[in-house]
Structure formats: structure tokens, C-alpha cells
């Protein structure tokens, strides 16, 4: 067992957890932040993408201890109160989601991408989405939403 402390969505949290706990499971099971989803066992789907110290990472690929002391941002903390983040807004406006399961991970990946590269071209957008699987949308409207958000964030 290990004692873990970190800041999640601006709040300090502290928990005793089994050493083998993954960050994704910690967020979901200990903190009840179920917006971070788990869709595969092999870091292929990207549903669990969160920001750790400002970087978009797949939280299933980190043991929680690796995030000890870190600043973690999940989908629940992305909006500014009632005001949606431009990426969240763009996903809804462009119909970039259907079942909604991959959506939080997609949005966290895209908001990470736009932070690093505020005006990505098509190729860069596609590369930025490489780590995330969606089975419903065929990505077409997701790519549209990324462009939409990039313009909105200018």
C-alpha cells in the first residue's frame, strides 16, 4: 500500500492505495471521477486520457505513484464552471460524438493538442488523434470539431 497525494481538478486529494493501482482506476474508483473511461487493456483506445502536469497522457499507462505530487486535470475539471471549454463546445456543435464513451478522452487529447499547437493543419490534427479510437463517428466530425475549436480559441 502507498499513500498518494496529488491535486486533481484544483483540489488536493490524498489516499492509501495498492501499489499496482493505475492512475485511471484511482481517478475512477477512489475519487469517483468516472468521466475518465477505460476501453482497452493495452493503451490503444485513449478513453482514459487526462492531463498530468499539463501534458495529455493515457492514465491507464501510469501507475498512480508516478503521478504522486502531480497536477491532474480530468474531463470533469475542464469546463470553467458553467462555461464549457471551447473543445467541449465544438464537439457538440459539430456532432463529433455519438455514444459518448470515447468523448472525454478525445476532448482531453484535443485540448492537449491545441495547447501545444494552437493552429494545427490537417495532418497534425490527424496525428494528434492517432492515440484515440472512436467507433461511432468515423472521425470526420471530430476533425471538424478540432478545427472549429482552434478557431474559437484564437
Amino acid at each position: 500500500m502507498a499513500k498518494i497525494e496529488m491535486t486533481v481538478n484544483g483540489k488536493k486529494v490524498s489516499h492509501e492505495v495498492e501499489d499496482r493501482t493505475l492512475l485511471a482506476n484511482f481517478l475512477r474508483d477512489q475519487l469517483g471521477l468516472t468521466g475518465t473511461h477505460i476501453g482497452c487493456d493495452t493503451s490503444q483506445c485513449g478513453c482514459c486520457t487526462v492531463h498530468v502536469d499539463g501534458l495529455a497522457v493515457k492514465s491507464c499507462s501510469m501507475v498512480v505513484g508516478q503521478a504522486n505530487g502531480a497536477e491532474v486535470l480530468t474531463i470533469e475539471g475542464l469546463a470553467n464552471g458553467e462555461t464549457l471549454h471551447p473543445v467541449q463546445q465544438a464537439f457538440s456543435e459539430c456532432h463529433a460524438l455519438q455514444c459518448g464513451f470515447c468523448t472525454p478522452g478525445m476532448i482531453m487529447a484535443v485540448s492537449g493538442l491545441l495547447k501545444d499547437n494552437p493552429a494545427p493543419n490537417d495532418e497534425e490534427i490527424i496525428q494528434g488523434l492517432e492515440g484515440n479510437l472512436c467507433r461511432c463517428t468515423g472521425y470526420i466530425n471530430i476533425i471538424k470539431a478540432v478545427k472549429h475549436a482552434a478557431v474559437a480559441m484564437k
Partner: protein, 774 residues
């Protein structure tokens, strides 16, 4: 005009929860004191289970109970079985199987359920499952269809009279078809493989079961497309009345048909909860999903097309083997039917004879997946037609023009007994060709060749069927006069909370935002059949229309009484009850509120305003459309890239163009995935699944999808009052033959005449090497 009404690109009301992380998917639901289940799956494709010793597992930390096949026998639990048998269609009887919650005698595929461990935590349950000692006697297994029908093949079911043949179906007329072939000017024949794929919704399956000993009732939180269907199937497995089981499905992260039936785990969590007195939760890992979800397609077919000298199709024949897997599951027969009956497709041909056999193999069971048989049918016809066009030297668009059923032939009855009520196939084809700049292809081909690539193109036409069975929708007013839609269908990504509300706000004139949506709870929804088979827009929509009409009819006398007029003088216009010829009027909401007065007028009209409507698929509707693809092949590497993709669909009246287009995109991605990369592959000898993770099972990512030009031609269906045709499956049905035909068009000059799906770079490269002209 109502900007939230029918036909408007209304943004989805569902989105807010999903984009903020407040969805409620199965793994997000927890109950107090719950424990967790883990499966032990068979590592062998075929083995006798000699003994299962769970002593070490039972003693492991945190373990609450361990269930095995012996307990299934002791409790006399039932199994999941076919909802429709061939004999229900008038065919010779098929072989029924039962899939129990846990295997009792034999493991019949790698991934068959052997034991279920319940512990305080999921990790403890998984750890303990590894401590179960199972003695297997490994038997020879058969995982390929052709091997399963060979003489002396290992049998999946010893008592199946047909060996590994579960049943056969036949449609059309042999004599008529044979006569057409005998006098044909030209015959083409192909041997095609339709690869085994799996749906892979990004949300893995899961379930949470709770038994309440106080009243003997079970509650299942399910990850399903069909809550009432799951209730019915599980009531048979557990031998309980349906009233003793409540099934609740909240947000479901995609299903594509795969989540339309109950699974053994749904029974296991309920059963385990009764035994251990606590709620029991199970969630599939992705590896478990790939092993145990029902798979789809997996067909080999020998098919032939007869033509006259002008390229007019005069006959079609097909003999197919379609895999059923180790069990004949509830909806297992569906792909068999559609894969045969839709072979004539959009073409005017009456001499047809098609037959199939369903084959048991030591693999995961197969069931419906987006399109369910229609992708197989369209693949047969369109591959044949392109081969014929090439051999006869006719342009692929022209040969389709010569054969498509004309608008003046509608209604048209196919030799497999579908009646197409409406459709303007030629108009849709021409629109597609224009949008795709079909005639400008040669210039683009020259450009590709300049950069060292080969370019190919294809055009295809599909006919789909929207709707299956009947369903029921209900409208209920709340005391404040707002309206709730209570749906028998089950949205799991399709946006029903939006599209149904668009309809109701049009019909009742109530504000779109005020409409509440209820689905997915067998205690709240009196009855329903869920969402699959592109059924909800037509059946749900028309049932909802009937409910709305019934509600207005019920409210009119109340409105008359409130306005002191005669009921016959009341009109309902734009959301208002008006007394004809006067300026007296009341809104729908005001009249609905009156149904909740605590005394007075409710003595006369009763308390509460609600109405239901039903609609049946009799007949179904027939969406149809044209797909056009241009792609490039790098002959050095075998890598293909889709350069242009054009779709024109006739889906009847479009309720929400945004959602319809989204359905087209998603369908295309799955069809293109099947054509180029997806393959649920088993080792031929051992029956081990070779694609057991997302590292091995390849699916389209953002880089593989082309920009798509999608348009709708709205030819209203004549068989339902709203003129609706389905949209959910169209993209998946039309795309595989389109991209493969385009690939063959590109490779033909290099001597490649045939390729099977998935046309991976390795396969394309190998085909080029074999042809020797690359």
C-alpha cells in the same frame, strides 16, 4: 417554422453529459456493499472439462464465492438459445443449442466460460480465478468454416444431426435460375470470403446484478441495446417470471448489434448476487470482450451471375457457408436470412436461387453486427457485377444503369419476396456520379500515375431494410403540463432524445427543451424491443405519432369542457386547442395541466394525460443508395489510401440531417475497416484467437478515413405515414464492395483479378507479387 422540428439539424440534447464527463455508463454505476466478479475462461478451443477444483480460489484473500458448471447443473439453470429457428421460417428444422452461464461438460471455444469468482475487489477476483485448477482433456478443434464441413471434422455438437451443419436456408427458384444460366450469353462466377469481424464498441460489456431477498426480485444494470429482450432471455435462464427481474440500462457506449442479446455474465451476476447476498459487478477487459462478444460475418460463398450480351443480369445463384460459432445464440439466424434474401439487391432480376448452410465452429458465437447479412449480400452482387462489367467491357456505372430497377417499376417484388415500395435508384446513381465527378476520373488517374501510384474507382448500389418487428411508444404528461416520451426503443448513440423530441415538439407544439425522455428501464417503460436493425426511426417514430394523435384526441373533450364548447368544434393547430370560428383557445400545456386538477373537472375526465401508440414493420422500409470511391495504391508497399468517397443515400424523410450524416460516417468507417484491416482471426489448428487485443485487432484511426461527400435524396417511404427509411446500417453495407472494387480496378492492369478482405498492405503486395507484373 419550428427550428427544433422535423428536418432541422438540431444539436443533440444528449451531448452535455458526455462532453463534461457526466455520462453514466455501466462501469460508472456502483451499489453499496457490491463485490466484483471475474471469469475464468477456457484456454482451449475444444476440451472435455474433467474436473474443476476451486478450493485454492475459495481460500484466496477477499473471495466471497466461486461458481462452476457443476453448480449450474445442480441449480438446473437454463441457457441462452435461438429466439427464431429455421423451422419458424418454414425451412427444415435446425439444431438448437443452449449456452449456459458456465460450461458444464465441454469447452467449445477459446473463451468459453468455466468459472466465475466473486471477491471484495476486482483485483482479488481476478487473482483468485487464476488459482482454479481445471483438468481438461484437450480435443481437436475446428475454427475455419471449410474445415468444419470436411469429412471427419471434429464436431462442435455431437448430437447435431447435420454434423457441424446447424441448418440450411434456401430462397428463390432453382429451375428458373438454372434455365436462365443455361441460356446466358455470359456467366461470371466468384468464390468470396467475407471476413470475420467483431463490433468492438469502445465501451466493453459489463453488468451489475442485485438480488433482494425481501421480495425475491432481481435488478440488473445492463450494458444492452434491448432491456426488455434481456429481461425475457434471462428469465428463461434463471427460471423466474419476467416480473421478478428489472433491467436498467443507462448510457451504453455503442453496440452495433453486438449488445442486442443477453450474455452469460448477465445471468452470472444475478445468480451470484442471490448466492452471496450482495450486489455483484462484472466488467469485461478488452481481451475478454474480443474473446466472448459475439462476432460477425465469417462467410464463404460461391456465387454466379448470368448476363445477356448487353450486360443485363438474367440470373443469380449463390451457395454460402456462414459460420455460427460454438452456439446458436438468440439472434443468430438473422445474418443468414439477410445475406441470402438481399442478393438481388437493387437490380431487376427474377431468376434467382440462393442457399446457405450455417456452420458450427469452435469459435465465439456469431450474431448480428451493423448490417447483419446485408453487407454479405451486397458484397456478392457488387463484386460479381464489377467482374461482369470488366469482362464485357462495359463501364461500371453503365452496367448498373442497365440493371437498376426503374422508378416506374415500383412497387417491385424481388424473387426473395421483398417489396420495394419506393425508390429512384437511377436518379440517386446519377446524383452520385455527378457529385463524385465520375467522368473526371481519367485526369486524376493520370495524376496518380505521375506520382508512381495506381488509381482505381468503383461505384456500387445497395438496398437495405429498415425495421424489424413492432414496438410501442408512450407519451405522458407531467402535472405541470410538460411531456415525457417513454420509448420502447433504446438509444445508445443514435440521438433519440433529440430526434423524438423534434417530432413531438412539431406535433404537440410544446417547447423542445421541455420534453423529457425516458428509456431503458423495464419498470418505467411498459414494453419495448430496443434499438437495432435500423428500426427506431420508422417504428419508434410512427408509434410516437400515433401516441401523439391519441393524446390530442383524448385532450380535445377536456379542452371543450374548459372552454365551454362542443368537442366537435375543437381544432388542434400549432400547439393550441381552438374553438373553431372564435378566438377562444388554450395551449396544449394548459389543457394537460387540467388533467391533474385535484378535484372538479378530473371527476369527469380522469386523472392524468397519457397515450401510447404502436407500429409494426409490416412491411419494412428500404433505404438505398449509391457509393463511389476512388483510391490510390502504392504498389511498392501495398498501402492503399482512399482519395475520394461519395455517398448519396435515399433514407426517406430525414428527421435530423446532422445525426443522419453522422450515422453514414460511422457506418462507412466500419465497412472500410472490414475491407482493409479488420479480422477476428483464429489459428486454424488450435482455434486460439490471434487478435485478442487492440494491438492485434486493427480498426480505422483518424488517419484512415477519407473526407466524405454525403448527400440525401428524400424519397418518402410509402409504407409508413412519416415516409421514413432507416439510416443506421447503410454505410457499413455499401462500403466494403465499393472500396474492394476500386482496389481491383487499380490492380487489374497489373494482373490482379481477385483479392479477399481484409485487403491489408501485405495481402495487396502479395497479390501483386503473385501476378508478377508489379
Amino acid at each position: 417554422m419550428n427550428k427544433f422540428g422535423i428536418g432541422q439539424p438540431v444539436r443533440r440534447v444528449e451531448d452535455q453529459g458526455f462532453i463534461t464527463g457526466r455520462g453514466r455508463f455501466i462501469d460508472d454505476i456502483n451499489l453499496p456493499h457490491q463485490c466484483h466478479g471475474a471469469l475464468l475462461l477456457s484456454p482451449h478451443a475444444h476440451a472435455l472439462i474433467k474436473s474443476v477444483d476451486a478450493a485454492r480460489a475459495r481460500a484466496a484473500p477477499g473471495v466471497v464465492c466461486v461458481l462452476t458448471g457443476a453448480q449450474v447443473l445442480a441449480e438446473k439453470l437454463g441457457g441462452l438459445t435461438a429466439a427464431m429457428m429455421p423451422e419458424n421460417l418454414g425451412a427444415p428444422p435446425g439444431h438448437r443449442t443452449f449456452m449456459p452461464p458456465l460450461a458444464t461438460d465441454k469447452a467449445r471455444f477459446a473463451g468459453d466460460r468455466i468459472a466465475f469468482v466473486v471477491a471484495q475487489t476486482e483485483a482479488q477476483a481476478r487473482d483468485a480465478a487464476e488459482l482454479i485448477d481445471v483438468e481438461y482433456q484437450v480435443l481437436p478443434a475446428v475454427s475455419y468454416i471449410e474445415d468444419a464441413v470436411a469429412a471427419g471434422a471434429p464436431l462442435v455438437w455431437d448430437d447435431c444431426p447435420g454434423g457441424n451443419v446447424a441448418y440450411g436456408l434456401m430462397f428463390g427458384n432453382k429451375e428458373v435460375a438454372d434455365a436462365a444460366f443455361a441460356k446466358a450469353a455470359h456467366v461470371v462466377s466468384l468464390h468470396l470470403t467475407n471476413n470475420r469481424v467483431t463490433a468492438n464498441p469502445i465501451e466493453p460489456r459489463g453488468c451489475l446484478g442485485e438480488f433482494n431477498p425481501a421480495n425475491g426480485k432481481y435488478t440488473l444494470y445492463a450494458c444492452t441495446q434491448n432491456p426488455h429482450g434481456v429481461r425475457q432471455e434471462l428469465s428463461q435462464v434463471l427460471h423466474i417470471a419476467e416480473t421478478k427481474l428489472r433491467v436498467i440500462a443507462e448510457d451504453v457506449g455503442g453496440g452495433f448489434g453486438m449488445k442486442a442479446d443477453a450474455y452469460p455474465e448477465d445471468a452470472l451476476v444475478l445468480w451470484a448476487s442471490r448466492l452471496c447476498g450482495r450486489p455483484v459487478k462484472w466488467r469485461a477487459s478488452r481481451a475478454e470482450s474480443l474473446l466472448t462478444d459475439s462476432h460477425a460475418r465469417d462467410q464463404v460463398v460461391h456465387c454466379e451471375m448470368a448476363l445477356d450480351a448487353n450486360g443485363k443480369i438474367t440470373g443469380l445463384r449463390a451457395r454460402a457457408l456462414q459460420a455460427l460459432g460454438a452456439f446458436f445464440i438468440p439472434a443468430g439466424i438473422v445474418p443468414s436470412i439477410f445475406s441470402m434474401r438481399f442478393i438481388p439487391g437493387p437490380y431487376d432480376v427474377q431468376a434467382v436461387h440462393v442457399m446457405m448452410q450455417a456452420i458450427f465452429t469452435h469459435t465465439a458465437p456469431l450474431g448480428p453486427y451493423r448490417g447483419a447479412g446485408r453487407p454479405e449480400a451486397v458484397y456478392v452482387t457488387e463484386r460479381l457485377l464489377d467482374r461482369a462489367a470488366r469482362e464485357l467491357g462495359i463501364d461500371p456505372a453503365e452496367i448498373r444503369r442497365r440493371n437498376l430497377i426503374r422508378a416506374d417499376q415500383m412497387p417491385y417484388t424481388t424473387p426473395t419476396f421483398y417489396e420495394y415500395d419506393s425508390g429512384e435508384f437511377h436518379q440517386v446513381l446519377e446524383k452520385g456520379l455527378l457529385a463524385a465527378d465520375w467522368d473526371g476520373f481519367e485526369a486524376r488517374r493520370a495524376q496518380s500515375e505521375k506520382s508512381g501510384k495506381r488509381r482505381g474507382r468503383a461505384v456500387t448500389y445497395y438496398v437495405e431494410q429498415g425495421g424489424i418487428m413492432n414496438d410501442r411508444m408512450e407519451l405522458r404528461c407531467d402535472p405541470g403540463g410538460t411531456v415525457a416520451i417513454v420509448a420502447g426503443t433504446f438509444s445508445h448513440g443514435q440521438g433519440h432524445a433529440t430526434t423524438y423530441a423534434q417530432m413531438v415538439s412539431d406535433w404537440l407544439g410544446v417547447p423542445f427543451e421541455s420534453i423529457r425522455f425516458v428509456q431503458g428501464d423495464t419498470d418505467q417503460v411498459p414494453f419495448g424491443r430496443g434499438t437495432y436493425a435500423a428500426r427506431s426511426s420508422m417504428i419508434g417514430g410512427n408509434a410516437l405519432k400515433k401516441a401523439a394523435e391519441a393524446m390530442i384526441a383524448k385532450a380535445k373533450p377536456m379542452a371543450a369542457a374548459l372552454m365551454e364548447a362542443a368537442a366537435a368544434d375543437i381544432e388542434f393547430v400549432e400547439g393550441e386547442f381552438r374553438v373553431a370560428g372564435t378566438d377562444r383557445k388554450m395551449t396544449f400545456t394548459q389543457v394537460a395541466q387540467a388533467f391533474y386538477y385535484p378535484m372538479g373537472i378530473t371527476d369527469q375526465f380522469g386523472v392524468g394525460l397519457e397515450a401510447s401508440g404502436t407500429f409494426a414493420t409490416n412491411p419494412p422500409n428500404h433505404p438505398n443508395g449509391c457509393h463511389i470511391c476512388e483510391l490510390e495504391v502504392d504498389v511498392e508497399t501495398g498501402v492503399t489510401s482512399i482519395e475520394r468517397y461519395t455517398v448519396v443515400d435515399d433514407v426517406g424523410i430525414v428527421i435530423n440531417p446532422l445525426i443522419c450524416e453522422g450515422q453514414v460516417h460511422g457506418g462507412l468507417a466500419q465497412g472500410i475497416g472490414q475491407a482493409f484491416m479488420e479480422h477476428a482471426a483464429y489459428d486454424r489448428k488450435t482455434g486460439q484467437l490471434l487478435t485478442g487485443s487492440f494491438l492485434d485487432y486493427s480498426m480505422p484511426r483518424a488517419d484512415y478515413m477519407p473526407q466524405v461527400s454525403s448527400a440525401f435524396v428524400e424519397i418518402p417511404a410509402k409504407t409508413n405515414p412519416l415516409g421514413i427509411k432507416g439510416i443506421g446500417e447503410a454505410g457499413t453495407i455499401g462500403s466494403p464492395p465499393t472500396v474492394i472494387n476500386a482496389l481491383l480496378d487499380a490492380l487489374h492492369p497489373l494482373g490482379v483479378e481477385h483479392i479477399d478482405m481484409p485487403a491489408t498492405p501485405a495481402r495487396v503486395w502479395s497479390a501483386l507479387q503473385a501476378a508478377g507484373k508489379a
